[in-house]
Amino acid sequence: MGSTQVGPAREPVRAPARPTPTTLSVTQHVLEIVSDSGEGAQKCGQIFGRVSAKMGNGVWTVEIIPAEIQPPARTPPSASGNRVRIATGPVTNWGDDANLVVAFNEQVLLHRHRLGALAGDAVILIESMWATHEDPDIRRAWAAAMEEMADCAYRFIPVPMEEQCLTVVDNPRKGKNMFALGMLAWIYSRDVARIKEQIAEEFRKKSKEVFESNVALLDLGYRWAEEHLDFRIEVPTTPPAGPMVVMNGNQAIAVGGIAAGMELCAMYPITPATSASHYLSEIFERFGGVVHQAEDEIAAIGAAIGASHAGKVAFTITSGPGLALKTEFIGLAVMMEIPLVIVDVQRGGPSTGLPTKVEQSDLLAAIYGQTGDAPHVVIAPATMGECFTCMTTARRLAEAFRTPVIVLTDANLATGVQAFPRPEITEAWLGSPPDQGPVAQGAKPYAWDQETGLSRRILPGQLGGMYTATGLSHDEDSHVGYSPDVHERGCQMRSRKMAVLHQMLEPPVVHGEPKGDLLVVGWGSTLGAIEEAVDRARAEGLKVSSLHLRFLEPLEPGLKRIFKGFKQVMTVEINYSDDPADPHITDENRRRGQLSWLLRANTLVDVDCWTRVPGEPLRPGDIHEAMRAAVARGGRA
């Protein structure tokens, strides 16, 4: 790549006209598109990601989301957009640094720069109008930003986006994203026909004029890049082995919920879970389903429990603060043994925390957040594909074990886009209609099998089965009983189901060798970043492996035996833990990562942790560094 670099306080250099482009061929590339909130960079990134996936590139996208809907323009917190990582093979995480950035102003670029999101030699296509803007404050802000980034070897390429867009539309705020998409299409040799198809899909509810002006802007950006840029980037594609689909985790949860045969999603709006209910609200009725937007989080789970109890397993979808409000009802569903699926799209906490940003800090609340002893299932999908299939798994487990099942996803899975093998849905996924036949004489609502704690449900409507379900301690007949034997038996039966499920699970498979110096254990959306870090560490000779857990309650079997193969075990998680080097922190008072806490309690192995709460996904490079440090320490932290 050339060196058309712009230093501080200098005028942006004009891009060379009609150069002969050089093509850089790479197996993976990370690009970002950032704008002020409302300028559409996210839509640009999403379309680019989907088209790249459809062309046969591995893809992972991550949304860059401001906390407010319309934060002040041209400020770092306003940065909104997408990171897209594309590769020749599969992509499992968002990578480390961005290699190419399209920035609609220097302030949103500065935001990414300050977060260390950009590679030292990143190519930056930046809207050039601000450098020569009539407002001296804006010119000064531009100069100051350039000064701040002067130490980096970024290659700035000024692009007159607004000037160009004004030749097609009146309001460039509504058009720059498609112009940028056109530039990216030329740079990465994207299939323009597919892009136009995708634009048609995204704007299917808008007028023909909107579609046509977007396409004109796309073509304009494409031509501008062709005439002015001196480089192209080639990321060869590989045809996938079988049919694939590309969607984000919330879309996968939504369609997965329908494919699981559920017909009611009761919810209350909460970020970052809402997009799943938006999508469901659009399509669910075609499948005979209803999105019930309840008056609050409590009523939402209450309605789901009502439908589930009456024979149609329902789900509710929420995030941390909503999970907190649902706590009492989760305990009731445990006590009454009502199947139910609760999806928690985790965000930063505690309290309102980081509404739009990823964290994995609801694990212990999901497992232990209820009062009393409330055994139930907690699972965590690790990919978009698992978000889809886990809904059927959750519904089946909920029915087979008569229990609520909590599905923990997070903002990273919810908004990120990834291609995965197209699920082959069969009738078995949908489950059976509720049994409305008469019950056998003397059948009990909690006829617990003493060995397993399992029992057959009696559903309202079944002749001869009348009983009253209660949250009070009860016996097999659902008769209220306060005696020690009734309460102890009930607790024992509900708990035993978890042990039975535990014994039905397969031990997890180690990524890497089953013996070594360090085993990293993760859960949820960090799978790809952890395994990429392990592969890098192993390539440089470190004896590092990893293990990824999908079942958190009950935990997957065989962990103690697997841990024995390693000198050290360390979790990697997106939640808070004390750094052993921090003031006052000792081995006794150190607050550890939530999975590490759980594993220590369950295995009595001294499981260490490396956790971060940056409000963004972990980078494989940082995990790699942590692995090196852990191996170098050789033993204890």
């Binding site: 369609v255 389903g289 009502g306 109890h309 024979g311 509720p434 089965g465 209660t470 949250g471």
Partner: protein
Amino acid sequence: MTGYNTCSLLSCATDDDRSWDMEDYAGPVAKWCPGCGDHAVLTAVERLLEAEQLPPERTMFVSGIGCSSRFPHYLRTYGFHGLHGRALPVATGIRLRRPDLHVFVVMGDGDCCSIGAGHWIHTTRYNPKMVALMLDNGVYGLTKNQTSPTSPRGLASYTQPRGAYLPALNPLTATLGVTNASFVAQTGDWLPAHLLATLRAAYHHHGFAFVRILQRCPQYTDDLFKEAMRNPDLIELLVHPDGVNVPELESLYKNQRPHDPSNLHEARRLAEPDGKIRLGVFYRNEDLPVYEEVRNVPVPAATEKLALLNTELDRYAV
């Protein structure tokens, strides 16, 4: 009807040759205190079930927590004795997927007007077809004598020993103030005939039938309606062909006010306290949207569902 109903229709088919007496609906002996108004309501409900011949297996009583919420345990129907204040969302969820079930909700004044007040307001607006019984004795009895939102001003309790500080919340005006409210009635536990007639009107209402039942707690609010029970002149019965009419009360209760239940403005005026205790149907309107009907969508057969799912996946195909 929403969703599947083939099996429930099968069980329907057997309804014709079955019939039920009051005892068929009766569960174990109720453990409420002697003299508690809940007993009278239970009896009236058993009478209602018998009068309407509701199949026990297709009848569901949902309750919250409190003395009155033990109600489902004392009936031989399906029951759901859930959380304090949260009976209405559960009942709404049942109606959304099982409109073939007859749903009754039993709440106390703390359940409905305090911890569950949000659900009360919103369920009134959703207007699902169900009967909501609010057994109002003006006090928390199960937790032993705390002030409730409907405790009369001045009533001494363990939490407000110098008397309730604020005037009582009026559940009638509150419900009548909610958009899409469709049925509001009031009756008293000491008038079994009026109670039963009101329950029957509520059961036949197409929508959310809110019935406030005035009663006393023999332990903590024994005097609440003592005067009204002794002196029929303190009572005013709302009468109308579209409301509740109890001919046997006519000789004793001279205060009879014709009131057309379709008149919302008048209903709100009559619900304001002015020294009279008014019993009857304040408001009834069957032309309002019923939530589970508004949200009713046909469920496609499994094969059709699979085809639709595959069409949906095509949108995401690589």
